[in-house]
């Protein structure tokens, strides 16, 4: 059977609903009798809560209830740790501190909720917030990662005696002795700052406890509905079957929507259980800057030891990681950083040391990239600075260090975010680098075009970088595929979807297996009433883990179809084919039966069946990979800097990606485009600005700039196709890849554009202002010399 759909540019089946305003998002849920919630949030990043008086708020007309931590009684509990630290790493220090639903005695992060008002309307609820008197005694805030660890620093969690959340190291080979052999050691301090995910849809929840049916329904903008259901059931003493969590259309996830539990999820569920009426809370944009998780803050002291011909002997990277006030997400982010410093390169000796620090900031959990962009930035910067010192071409130094195609599977000997050894399953890196360099015209540009443009006084630069992306990690996903009596196929899976085109790409797999039109495949995702098992949409795993589970379930149904059809059509299974929604005997098209009819036969209403017969044409199956599949890529860009305004224009952008089998190139390329756009923001526009008191100074989309249409260039996408041997489809994830290399690429191209200034970029994100400062500093140090 040749695939008809997998690999094709199939337009998305979910689009008509989204384009006509008929797709249900959480904020569109409207239930008779629904109440509205608003949260009182701390204006201080760090403060003691001496007392809180909500009596005036309670007596405001239209207010149904006001709750504080005290009111929750025994239901007040810390959220569960979402990710535990890897048990496989030795000598680890890890202090678990998880978030609270409402502040009881101490505020640990700016915007932490102190109380909730439930009222007839959001207007009334917000007005009532003004009636609450919270006696907060401000404390010195913890923000700077190095100062946080000094003796005498204010403490986020006093009982720990320091702000150290975790400490661990991993080693491959022996860096110390490698360093002694080195001709050149590049040593740098590298800073990466915090940003937000800024999904266009803010978070939101509608929680509805129906006392008559004794059922709790939660519409939630989550990336992981099944764990939310299981967790809430456990937390509030309900049976799992009493709780239904629905993640309908979700307006972008990018990581933070995988977090559980947010304070609001715990509080709204508890509140509806008290009141017995539906309650809606929709985060407003300003709240999104405080109440939704963030990422990227790290300080690296990194060094690379090389030979005089540019070969890496080893890398040492010791870094601080900002986890915010709590650490429910374990070590996923810093582990990703450690792993991605190794990149696609042959690094025989590596020492990585991570210190995780508590600060008075929002919790850090993965944001598209999840620690990987920081790792990519570190290794690519070190290579660039080494190339500069060695007077070597930037593409050449990478070529010299790439892992060759015959080493796979390649064990990098450290533990990754999935607690398994970092084994690169497959790859062919050199062609990716060459493709990116050729497409952008690297050689002609540096030989002819750039000198010509420079002579015209233009500041143009080119960059070429590489990266790997660990994707598609376990543990598992599952799916159920059913042929309905109408002949239509329904597919249910546990992962939620936030715009990745799952409705289409997953349907393509099923349509090919069962020989039906893709329009006859109906996918249900993100509703716990439809599928019971699963973990969620994260770590670029939809196209790997969920897709292979769907593939397995579809194959099982195909087997059932063939067995039954063989009896009905009185022909051996080998002679049957599935096409056009029919099973037919090859070469005898008149001998056929439709899938719908077969489904009816598979579910008899009277009579007897053979013992052991399963009804229906339906199968449930699961997929869990041994370890993750590693994608790779090379990106290249040409940019121009206006030295007057420091504005940057990206002239060309090339992204070459290898994520194994491509299910749908239209969707895949779209993922790359969006990833790059976020990476551009991460490089030059987006940075959360905090003052010394931990106040966030730019909490709006007018002050925190995400890339608009004018900032994103046309992105040319190229591909490599190294199939993963770890799953039957051969896929690797692609959701985050686009974002990973952009800051490193941006830095390289900027340095090249401003080569006459001897600029060195060892921090991200930059901004026009910051670039101006860096150039000033470079000038001063040059003239001072």
């Amino acid at each position: 059977m040749s695939p008809k759909y997998v690999g094709q540019r199939i337009s998305r089946t979910e689009d008509p609903r989204l384009l006509t305003g008929q797709a249900l998002f959480v904020d569109d849920v409207n239930i008779p009798g629904m109440l509205h919630a608003a949260f009182l949030r701390s204006d201080y990043a760090h403060a003691r809560l001496n007392s809180i008086d909500v009596s005036a708020a309670r007596s405001r007309p239209g207010v149904i209830a006001v709750y504080t931590a005290q009111d929750m009684g025994d239901a007040w509990q810390h959220g569960p740790p979402l990710v535990i630290p890897p048990p496989t790493i030795q000598n680890m220090v890890f202090h678990t501190r998880t978030q609270v639903p409402l502040v009881k005695d101490k505020v640990r992060l700016i915007g932490e909720p102190l109380a909730v008002v439930i009222a007839e309307s959001r207007y009334i609820a917000e007005d009532a917030l003004e009636d609450i008197i919270a006696d907060l005694q401000p404390l010195e805030a913890v923000g700077d990662l190095e100062r946080a660890l000094r003796p005498g620093a204010p403490l986020v969690h006093e009982e720990l005696g320091s702000n150290l959340a975790a400490h661990f190291f991993q080693e491959k080979g022996n860096y110390k002795s490698a360093r002694q052999q080195a001709d050149l050691v590049i040593q740098k301090r590298i800073l990466i700052d915090r940003g937000i995910a800024a999904a266009m849809e803010n978070r939101g929840i509608v929680a509805h406890w129906d006392p008559k049916s004794q059922r709790l329904t939660l519409w939630d903008t989550t990336q992981s509905p099944i764990p939310i259901r299981n967790g809430l059931a456990g937390m509030f003493g309900l049976a799992e079957h009493q709780v239904r969590v629905i993640a309908p259309f979700v307006g972008g996830g990018f990581g933070p929507k995988i977090m559980m539990f947010y304070a609001e999820e715990m509080v709204l569920t508890w509140a509806t259980l008290q009141i017995g009426r539906p309650i809606k809370w929709i985060e407003d944009r300003r709240e999104n800057f405080y109440a939704t998780t963030q990422e990227r803050g790290q300080v690296h002291d990194a060094e690379m030891a090389l030979t005089s011909d540019g070969r890496i002997l080893g890398v040492r990277d010791s870094f601080l990681h900002d986890t915010g006030a709590y650490d429910p997400y374990g070590l996923t982010i810093p582990l990703n950083t450690q792993c991605h410093v190794l990149g696609p390169y042959d690094v025989p000796n590596y020492y990585a040391e991570t210190t995780v620090v508590f600060t008075n900031r929002m919790i850090a959990t993965p944001v598209r990239g999840a620690g990987r962009p920081q790792g990519v930035f570190v290794v690519e910067r070190l290579l660039d600075l080494a190339a500069r010192k060695l007077d070597m071409d930037r593409v050449e130094i990478r070529k010299r260090n790439l892992l060759p195609p015959d080493v796979f599977p390649y064990n990098n000997q450290i533990i990754d975010q999935a607690f398994a050894p970092l084994v690169l399953d497959s790859g062919n890196y050199l062609p990716l680098l060459e493709q990116a360099a050729t497409r952008i015209g690297y050689q002609p540009f540096i030989r002819e075009e750039q000198p010509r443009l420079r002579a015209e006084g233009k500041h143009v630069g080119i960059g070429v970088v590489m990266f790997i992306e660990t994707t598609g990690v376990g543990p598992y996903e599952g799916a159920r595929v059913t042929v309905e009596a109408s002949g239509r196929i329904s597919v249910a899976t546990g992962v939620g979807t936030q715009g990745q085109g799952h409705f289409t790409s997953f349907a393509q797999i099923v349509a090919d297996q069962l020989g039906v039109n893709i329009r006859d495949v109906e996918l249900v995702t993100g509703d716990t009433a439809e599928f019971h098992w699963g973990t969620g949409t994260f770590a670029s795993r939809g196209a790997v883990v969920a897709a292979n589970a769907i593939h397995a379930a579809a194959r099982a149904v195909r087997g059932k179809i063939l067995r039954l059809a063989s009896k009905v059509l009185e022909a051996p299974e080998e002679e049957l084919e599935l096409a056009d929604g029919q099973v037919r005997v090859a070469d005898m098209p008149e001998k056929s039966i439709s899938l719908g009819k077969l489904a009816v036969l598979a579910n008899p209403l009277r009579g007897a069946v053979q013992p052991g017969t399963e009804p229906g044409l339906e199968a449930t199956d699961y997929f869990g990979p041994q370890y993750g599949a590693t994608a790779a890529g090379a990106h290249a860009m040409i940019l121009e800097v206006d030295p007057e305004t420091m504005m940057v224009e990206i002239k060309r952008y090339v992204a070459v990606e290898d994520c194994g089998t491509v299910l749908n190139p239209l969707i895949l390329d779209g993922q790359v485009h969006g990833g790059v756009a976020l990476g551009i923001g991460n490089s030059y526009y987006e940075k959360l600005v905090f003052d010394d008191n931990g106040q966030l100074l730019n909490a709006s989309l007018a002050d925190y700039l995400i890339a608009a249409a004018t900032e994103v260039p046309r992105i040319e996408v190229g591909h490599g196709y190294t199939l993963s041997p770890l799953n039957p489809l051969g896929t690797k994830g692609a959701g985050e890849a686009g974002t990973l290399p952009v800051p490193a690429l941006f830095a390289q191209a900027l340095e090249d554009a401003l080569a006459d200034h001897r600029l060195e970029v060892v921090e991200m994100p930059l901004s026009p202002n910051r670039l101006f400062e860096l150039l000033q500093a470079a000038q001063e140090s040059a003239s001072g010399r």
Binding site: L19, G21, Q22, A199, G501, G670, L701, T710, R714
Partner: protein, 158 residues
């Protein structure tokens, strides 16, 4: 709180409502008329998810009061398809994969529609300019621009 009667044509249909003075057009559409296709991304004029046509001009409906639309014409995303047939722009958005999560999409469609109405053959810069007020976090904009160009080449939004 004062309440005002208004008469407004929405997607070609006359509506008579009583609205409080502080109610925004966005709230009126979503909460009173169940036209939830128009999205709320910021309620502050920063994201463009709430864009609708007011007398043919694109506006952020979160910044317009419901009382201001008395006697005027509003078109929302629900009014773009005619008798179940998608508009040329909607069709082009599908063909070019200009939609990912779809949250910005209603606003994008309205802004593009307005652009093509005033400039049937915009160049790339004009398109980018017209979309400046519409943020998208998923697509990187390229596909949206292509979809608009495609419709422009075919002779304007139908």
């Amino acid at each position: 709180m004062s309440v005002h009667p208004i008469a407004v044509t929405i997607n070609g249909k006359a509506e008579y409502l009583e609205v409080p003075a502080h109610m925004t057009l966005l709230q009126m559409l979503r909460d009173r008329l169940a036209l939830t296709g128009t999205k709320n991304g910021c309620e502050a004029g920063e994201c463009g998810a709430c864009t609708v046509l007011l007398d043919g001009q694109p506006v952020n409906s979160c910044l317009v009061l419901a009382v201001e639309v008395d006697g005027r014409q509003v078109v929302t995303v629900e009014g773009l398809a005619q008798d179940g047939t998608l508009s040329g722009l909607q069709q082009a958005f599908i063909e070019h994969n200009a939609v990912q999560c779809g949250f910005c999409t209603p606003g994008m469609l309205i802004s593009s529609q307005a652009l093509l109405a005033r400039n049937p053959s915009p160049d790339e810069d004009a398109i980018k300019e017209a979309l400046l007020g519409n943020l998208c976090r998923c697509t990187g904009y390229g596909r949206i621009i292509q979809a608009i160009q495609d419709v422009a080449r075919g002779g304007g939004a139908s």
